[in-house]
Amino acid sequence: MTRIVWLCFVLGLWQPFTLLGAPHIIVHPSVPVEQLSVAQLRSIFLMRQLQWPNGAPIRVFVLTTQSAGHQQFSKECLQLFPYQVERVWQKLTYSGIAPPPTELSSDMAMLEMISATPGAIGYVEQYDERYAAKVLPLQ
């Protein structure tokens, strides 16, 4: 069994990310979604999915790409390394397919922005219930 796991790892068929201590996914209360799968979350944060199911535009916010929060979010929630995420954003930005997400500097700024922006989605390391942002569980 160990050999099979190692073989899968070497061939790239399995990527050992964990969800321990993962950041909280937060959205504006108007967002008509109650949970997301990792693949759906990835579609949104890789700017492939630009609308919510009700047609409202998705507004994506991320922490500064070099911050520990973003690094953790990329690896544990998107199950991608930060350089992979950034490469997709650059590809989409410079081929005209989609704009990159908006960067914010802190959890507090993220909570404020998500609470104030209809259709917004982002993430925080520490959720604060005083804000109107809604937490989305990952499937």
Binding site: L13, L36, A39, Q90, G96, P99, E112, T117
Partner: protein, 385 residues
């Protein structure tokens, strides 16, 4: 704090439909013993890339995007400005598991690993990409098309699947034709059409991505009265496989291609040749620290898979064309240093054997490209926003 964030949110609302970005890069390059950059083999500053792009969200499902860029690569490609892309993007379907987009206008080639951003310095792993796949003399023809394209993304239990299809044509300038066909041409080249299809698949919880792409294209060449060549028709068909493996500190990527070229005319009215070219590269990138990365690649190209050593070339050209025009092997190493978040310095060195991927490739430049072995050194500073 609260007021400023409210103002920022309002500003996002007001300007969210409008985005603009850009990049500028300048470098120094020296290609010794070849005509890759210039004929002298001296250091050159002809390594300039500048681009500005903008997009406008007209409606939730309709966007317009365009990019104007300026390129100076010496003899690698045509110098000057061009509209890299300008298209309308209609999102025909958008659900959490499936997105379907239609693009009309001039769009980028999304079918290969680096094709859509080969002209954007900081997105390339190397200053000079593996020429077997990303042949610089063909850059303007391969980078995009005028026509219609479809992009579709699916997610599910199988993982992520991206499907792309495009049909269009690219205007070909005389300078561009000279880079590909011959320096002496005086006629006009036209691309009749290019149709491409590609699929990229990333299995669930996988560090690897796999891709396949197909290309079919027709060109015609109209000789004029003073032309040393005659009317010609070319059909190009390309089959490609690509693969990428991503780990935290290192990444491997590879593309393989076979290209069928069916040429009629050009050298003589009744000239006819069908030839299969092959090429492949393996590229490795190691992130040593958050700022420093090292890259190494090996790239191989054979102009004729049935004559890998190029032995037929002297026989077909009365001894004028040396066998080494039939292949090219490029071993490259590079260093990348992120000085700041949006400011990067790259340096690289290529050791090359063979001249199979030096333009022009229909009538080779035997006067300058006389050496079987040649080198490229390059240094480039790039900034983007």
């Amino acid at each position: 704090m609260g007021i400023s964030l409210w103002l920022m949110a309002s500003s996002c609302y007001a300007h969210e439909a409008w985005h603009w970005h850009g990049y500028v890069s300048q470098g120094l390059i020296r290609a010794q013993d070849s005509n890759f950059v210039n004929n002298s083999g001296d250091w050159s500053s002809e390594l300039t890339e500048f681009g500005m792009n903008a997009s406008w969200q007209l409606q939730p499902s309709v966007r317009i995007a365009g990019q104007l860029m300026y390129l100076d690569g010496g003899q690698r490609y045509q110098k000057g400005h061009r509209i890299d892309y300008l298209f309308v993007n209609w999102t025909a379907h958008s659900s959490l598991d499936w997105q379907f987009d239609i693009l009309v206008g001039r769009f980028k080639n999304m079918h290969w690993l680096y094709s859509s951003t080969r002209d954007v310095a900081m997105t390339r792993p190397l200053i000079v990409l593996p020429q077997s796949i990303y042949f610089d003399a063909f850059r303007d023809i391969a980078v995009g098309s005028d026509g219609v394209a479809i992009q579709s993304n699916h997610t599910g239990s199988f993982g992520e699947l991206e499907l792309n299809w495009s049909l269009g044509a690219t205007p070909v300038s005389r300078e561009q034709s000279r880079l590909v066909l011959s320096r002496q041409i005086t006629g006009e080249t036209e691309q009749d059409y290019v149709q491409q299809l590609s699929a990229f698949w990333r299995p669930v919880r996988s560090a690897a991505q796999y891709g396949i792409s197909l290309l079919d294209s027709d060109f015609n060449y109209r000789a004029d009265a003073t032309d040393p060549y005659v009317h010609a028709w070319f059909n190009v068909q390309r089959f490609m496989l690509n693969w990428r493996y991503s780990a935290e500190r290192f990444e491997l990527s590879s593309e393989l291609m076979q290209e069928r070229i069916d040429a009629t005319g050009f050298l003589a009215p009744n000239f006819k040749r069908v030839q299969f070219a092959q090429g492949a590269y393996l590229l490795a990138r190691y992130q040593w620290t958050p700022q420093h990365a090292f890259i190494a690649s090996i790239d191989k190209f054979y102009a004729n898979k049935d004559d890998r050593g190029g032995r037929l070339l002297p026989l077909q050209s009365a001894g004028l064309i040396a066998p080494f025009f039939g292949y090219q092997t490029d071993l490259a190493v590079a260093w990348s240093y992120d000085i700041q978040k949006n400011l990067r310095l790259k340096a690289e060195m290529h050791w090359i054997e063979g001249t199979g991927r030096l333009g022009p490739n229909v009538v080779p430049d035997i006067a300058i490209n006389r050496s079987r072995q040649h080198h490229i050194m390059a240094l480039q500073l790039m900034y983007w926003f």
